[in-house]
C-alpha cells in the first residue's frame, strides 16, 4: 500500500539546514497497524506528512497504492487525500468557525455521492463512539484538549478511508478514553481492512501495533514485527 524509496526531507531556515529525514526506505502492507516511535524531533510528523501527501520529499519517492504522490500538484494532492486518506493532526487542526458536528461532517461534504441522511448517521455514530455526542453543538474553543483530540479522530475516520495517518492521537487522553479510541480503530481494521499508521509516544498504542519502526534523528534505526496478522 505504501512505499518509500530513499526519501529525504530537508528544511532550510535561514542559514540553518535541518535534515529531518535521511534516506528512508519503507514498505507497508494493507490492513496493518503500524507505529512509528522515537524521540521528540526525530522526524515522525515529517514522515507522516509525506505519506499523507501533505508535503513532498526533497529527494526520493513516495508511493501510495502505487501512485507516486510526490508528483501531484496541490489540487491533485487535495483530491487524493479527500478520497483515500484520513489524518489526525498532532495539533488537531479543527476549523474554529465550525461546530464539533460540522467539523466531523466536513470531509463528507467533499464526497458528493452521500445522501444527507447517511451523512448525518455517520457523523452521529462516530461522535457517539468518541464520547462527544453531548458536545456536538459547541465550537473548538469551547471544548477541552482531549475533547478536541477526539473530534480530530472522528473527523479522520468519517469517510471510511483505506488509510489513516494518526499523529499522536492519544497524547491528550486519559487511559480509558485512549483505549476507546484504539478500539474504534481496531474495529475499523477488522471490519473494513483500514490501514493505520501512527506516530506516537504512547506505549498503549505501541502495544497494539503489529509493526513498530523506531526513528532517530531522521533515520529508521529499528523495526520490530510483533503480532501475527489475524
Amino acid at each position: 500500500l505504501i512505499r518509500l524509496e530513499n526519501v529525504r526531507k530537508i528544511y532550510q531556515t535561514g542559514e540553518v539546514t535541518v535534515q529531518a529525514l535521511k534516506g528512508i526506505n519503507l514498505d507497508i502492507q494493507k490492513k496493518s497497524f503500524v507505529s512509528f516511535i522515537g524521540p521528540s524531533g526525530s522526524g515522525k510528523s515529517t514522515l507522516l506528512n509525506l505519506i499523507g501527501c501533505l508535503d513532498k520529499p526533497t529527494e526520493g519517492k513516495v508511493f501510495v497504492n502505487n501512485v507516486e504522490v510526490g508528483l501531484f500538484n496541490r489540487a491533485e494532492s487535495a483530491a487524493f487525500r479527500g478520497k483515500n486518506l484520513g489524518f489526525v493532526f498532532q495539533n488537531f487542526n479543527l476549523i474554529p468557525v465550525l461546530t464539533v458536528y460540522e467539523n466531523v461532517e466536513y470531509p463528507l461534504l467533499m464526497l458528493d455521492h452521500l445522501p444527507l441522511k447517511e451523512r448525518n448517521d455517520r457523523v452521529l455514530r462516530l461522535l457517539e463512539k468518541v464520547g462527544m455526542t453531548d458536545q456536538k453543538k459547541k465550537y473548538p474553543n469551547q471544548i477541552s484538549g482531549g475533547q478536541k483530540q477526539r473530534v480530530a479522530v472522528a473527523r479522520a475516520l468519517v469517510t471510511n478511508p483505506q488509510l489513516v495517518l494518526a499523529d499522536e492521537p492519544t497524547a491528550n487522553l486519559d487511559h480509558a478514553t485512549a483505549f476507546k479510541v484504539i478500539n474504534i480503530m481496531q474495529e475499523m481494521t477488522n471490519e473494513f481492512g483500514t490501514t493505520f499508521i501512527f506516530s506516537t509516544h504512547d506505549p498503549k498504542i505501541v502495544g497494539e501495533a503489529e509493526i513498530i519502526y523506531t526513528l532517530e534523528d531522521g533515520a529508521i534505526v529499528n523495526s520490530e514485527i510483533k503480532k501475527e496478522k489475524k
Copy 2:
C-alpha cells in the same frame, strides 16, 4: 499558598450550560508537587486556569498567597501572573512571530530589573536544559510538537516563579525527554522551593507527585498523599 473555597465554574453556550467545576475546596501548601488527574473533560484545565488567574470562578473564591485573585481586573491579573506565576499551556501558546529564544525570553522583558547579560544567561541555560539550544533561532511553525512543548516549559520557568501551573507538559514527549523535563522541575523545587501544580494523564508525572487529586465531572473525588516532603 493556594486556597479554593467552594469554587464553581459554569460555561454558558447557547442553550447548553456546562458545569465545568462543581464546588471545589482545596488547600495547597508551598513547595509541593501536586498532580490533578482525571478523564478528558473532567475540568483539569479549567481548574488550572482559575488558579493561574487566567479566568475567574462563577462562584466561590480563589486565593493565591492569601490574595483573592478573582477580584483583579485584567491589568491586575496580568501583573500578578507576570510576577508570581509560570504557565505551561495544553496547546503551548507560543508567539508565532517570535523565535524560540525570544519566546523564552519574553516573560523576562516584563521584569524590568534584569540586566541583558543575566537575561541572556537564563534563557540559554533553560534552552540547554530542555535540549532546544540548536533550535533557538527557529520559529514555532518550524519545530516539532514536542519541541514546542519544551519551549513552552522553558518559558514558564524562566522568571523563576514561585508557582508553576503545567497543563499536560509531557503529553507530546517521549519517555526520556519527559523525564528530563520532570527533573528540571524537581531541581527547581529543591533549589528554589518552587511549587508545581500539574494537570496530566502521564503516569510518569503522577509517580513523582506528592499529592494526587482525582477530578471527575467537575468535582474532586479522591485525594492521595504519596510521599513525605523532603
